[in-house]
């Protein structure tokens, strides 16, 4: 009662959404995601060609759907900061506030499925005309758990080698065509770093270390490059504290201890400093390609020529990847709301090429092979990534495990903790987390 009266008071006073014709809206669905907030920057923009970056593309796609769908569906976006996303999704589920559609990672899906929190939507998608067989194998795997389809795969994202060509050229590390030379092993990498420092005085790598998952992603990648894995895919047990783990973490530690990268960088500071032209290379994901390309084209960053490449083989060929998907948390929906949610998912799937613009790898074979995709800038430069991409086995509690590894590894990068101690600590923390898995 109190709740209702106060709510109505508030609604009358505070919620006046500009420019929305309420009369036409028949069904509203809630849409929870990260990717950033840019509703004001792209207010009323419905032309996807005008959007750049993850935030721009998903915002404009949503705008477009709201403006053009014939069924009177209105999608209400709530954007959440990426660091707080899963905490909020969890408390929302606990407090009966589940969104109609939520973004999720392949790596977090098992936790939600195991607790029966998500609808299995394979059949509904098929009925709506989504061709599940069009999904590439890794994408299909990403949404499949215990033989059911739990979401609509949206992309595969992987780590890439982003290059400030100005610095590489000044250091003489370009080939005859002017393309930057990518190191072929650890030794070449350190040699390049030395040359860059000597010839230009610049740092070699920008890579967030503090409070950031990047070192963990790179650690996973280096494990796969050695033919090992962080979790055993058969037993789901952590295999962090191993000879390969030592090799991987020693390498990462050396990047920071030798000054190739700055250990106090966190919260995107590495990406800032790369944009300001302070480092030759940035270790970051597919999600940065489009933004960096358009910023450099507009002359808005501290260097002229940007390039990107497949991640170099430090110990072997492999790169880290994960997958974004859309899921429908369990909640009481009217049939109209459910249909509206499926309709929006179908629309997002149809527009997969727009999302691929961000730099992510598309999930549909038909898009991957399309001419439109081939025409996107830089795609040839990281054509190998789709084959090199590896992902963490689908086990529960991966996110807390990743956080635990992040904190232990952080100590090895920022303090004088030895890599052996950090690995042992990470191993025991992750074992504890996995012990709680049902």
């Amino acid at each position: 009662m109190l709740k209702k009266s106060i709510l109505s008071l508030l609604l009358s006073g505070a919620l006046v959404a500009p420019g929305v014709a309420f009369a036409q809206v028949k069904t509203e669905i809630s849409f929870l995601r990260f990717f950033g907030g840019c509703a004001d920057e792209y207010a009323n923009v419905t032309d996807v060609d005008k959007a750049s970056g993850e935030c721009g593309v998903i915002q404009v796609l949503t705008n477009k759907f709201n403006a053009e769908n014939k069924d009177g569906i209105k999608v209400n976006t709530q954007n959440v900061d990426w660091n707080a996303y899963y905490d909020l999704l969890s408390t929302k589920l606990a407090s009966n506030e589940a969104p109609d559609i939520a973004v999720m990672h392949r790596s977090t899906l098992p936790n939600f499925v195991a607790r029966d929190l998500i609808e299995s939507i394979g059949e509904d998608l098929t009925k709506a005309g989504v061709d599940l067989d069009d999904f590439a194998k890794p994408a299909r795997e990403a949404v499949t758990y215990e033989n059911k389809t739990w979401g609509l795969p949206f992309d595969i994202h992987a780590l890439l080698w982003h290059v400030n060509v100005d610095i590489m050229k000044a250091a003489g590390l370009v080939d005859a065509s002017g393309a930057p030379i990518v190191p072929k092993n650890a030794q070449e990498l350190f040699e390049q770093a030395r040359i860059v420092k000597e010839k230009t005085g610049k740092r070699y790598i920008s890579m967030d270390a503090r409070n950031d998952a990047m070192p963990v992603r790179v650690f996973n990648m280096l494990m796969w490059q050695q033919g090992a894995d962080v979790f055993s895919s058969e037993t789901g047990k952590p295999t962090i504290n191993t000879a390969q783990g030592k090799q991987a973490l020693d390498f990462i530690q050396k990047l920071y201890k030798d000054g190739l990268a700055v250990a106090t960088h966190g919260n995107g500071e590495a990406s800032q400093s790369f944009q300001q032209g302070e480092a030759a290379i940035m270790v970051n994901g597919t999600w940065a390609v489009n933004r960096l390309a358009s910023l450099s084209a507009e002359g808005k960053i501290g260097f002229k020529t940007y390039a990107v490449a497949d991640f170099p083989p430090i110990f072997g060929k492999a790169t880290w990847s994960d997958s974004h998907m859309w899921v429908m948390p369990k909640k009481n929906r009217t049939p109209e709301q459910k249909a509206a949610a499926i309709a929006f998912l179908k629309y997002l799937n149809d527009n997969g090429i727009s999302w691929a613009k961000t730099g992510h790898l598309p999930v549909r074979t038909s898009v991957l092979q399309s001419e439109a995709y081939a025409k996107l800038p830089f795609r040839n430069a990281y054509a190998q990534t789709a084959q090199m991409a590896r992902a963490v086995p689908m086990v529960q509690n991966q996110r807390p495990a990743q956080d635990a590894m992040r904190d232990s590894f952080g100590a090895a990068l920022l303090t004088d903790k030895s890599t052996a101690d950090a690995l042992a600590e990470a191993q025991s923390k992750v074992e504890r987390l996995f012990r709680r898995v049902r």
Partner: protein, 280 residues
């Protein structure tokens, strides 16, 4: 001798005064800087954040608050929650305080001790079970759920009990002879006397409720129900990007204005109130 001592005391007095002024300036510089940034255009701030004056000057950050953000809604939620908490606390605490101070009833001492034991339970350690309990009552995302846990804290009851105990009995006895009911005595005699204590309790409750963080962070999960404290935290993720720095600062300034105004109006009651609650 006395004159020399007087002079040296005067010198040290001036020394202390100038030290204090310097310290106060240091104290305020971050605030002045933030306020200055809130009046600067975002693209200027992306290049440089130095300078304590808002040059170049813009009001766009503040107008953006009204047109593109949820901030007004969050402010309204905070106002409803803080005012509601304060009103409820004043009512229930003064009633209960009167009973503990002036009425004689079975198990009074035991009950008082039980309530006082509640003082020992730190707010932060209650959040987890409170969340589970409020979930089972399906009360999350309501203003009431944001108010109730603070109303339940015994501080107000303790303060009002102490206060009423100190009111001279003679004032009541006269009324009692006139055969007035307990409630009439409470309302006609005790309440008017307790206005200073109520004002103090009110300000403290308002300040604390306005600034609550942990509980609303986990209970208000619908953006429409965020308080300004939680809402502002949800914006901070965009820190890494230089874009929007002025806007975030403007939101912080705007969000703090009501509480600063409340504080400046009532600040003289604060010291008095502390003397009341801890005067032992």
């Amino acid at each position: 001798m006395a004159a020399r001592q007087l002079r040296s005391e005067r010198t040290s007095e001036w020394l202390i005064r100038s030290l204090l002024v310097g310290l106060a300036a240091l104290w305020m510089i971050p605030l002045i800087w933030i306020v200055a940034m809130s009046f600067k255009p975002n693209d200027v701030l992306a290049m440089s954040t130095s300078g304590l004056l808002p040059i170049p000057f813009t009001l766009k950050n503040f107008s953006d608050i009204f047109f593109v953000s949820m901030t007004p809604r969050w402010l309204l939620n905070s106002a409803v929650v803080a005012l509601g908490t304060t009103a409820l606390t004043l009512v229930v605490a003064s009633l209960a305080g009167y009973a503990f101070a002036r009425l004689d009833f079975p198990f009074k001492r035991t009950l008082f001790i039980i309530v006082l034991a509640g003082l020992m339970v730190p707010e932060q350690t209650l959040v987890i079970p409170l969340h589970a309990v409020v979930t089972s009552w399906d009360l999350h995302n309501t203003h009431f759920a944001l108010m109730a846990p603070r109303v339940a804290l015994p501080v107000g009851v303790f303060l009002m009990t102490q206060f009423f105990k100190a009111v001279p009995k003679e004032l009541e006895e006269a009324a009692a002879i006139d055969n007035a009911s307990r409630f009439t005595i409470f309302r006609r005699i005790m309440l008017p006397l307790s206005i200073p204590a109520l004002v103090t309790l009110g300000i403290y409750t308002f300040l604390h409720s306005w600034n609550d963080f942990f509980w609303p962070l986990v209970s208000a999960t619908n953006t429409n129900m965020y308080t300004i404290t939680v809402g502002l935290a949800s914006l901070q993720g965009n820190f890494a990007q230089t874009e929007g720095l002025g806007f975030i600062m403007a939101t912080a300034v705007f969000a703090s204005l009501p509480i600063v105004i409340v504080y400046l109006i009532f600040q003289r009651y604060l010291v008095r109130g502390i003397a009341l609650s801890t005067g032992k």
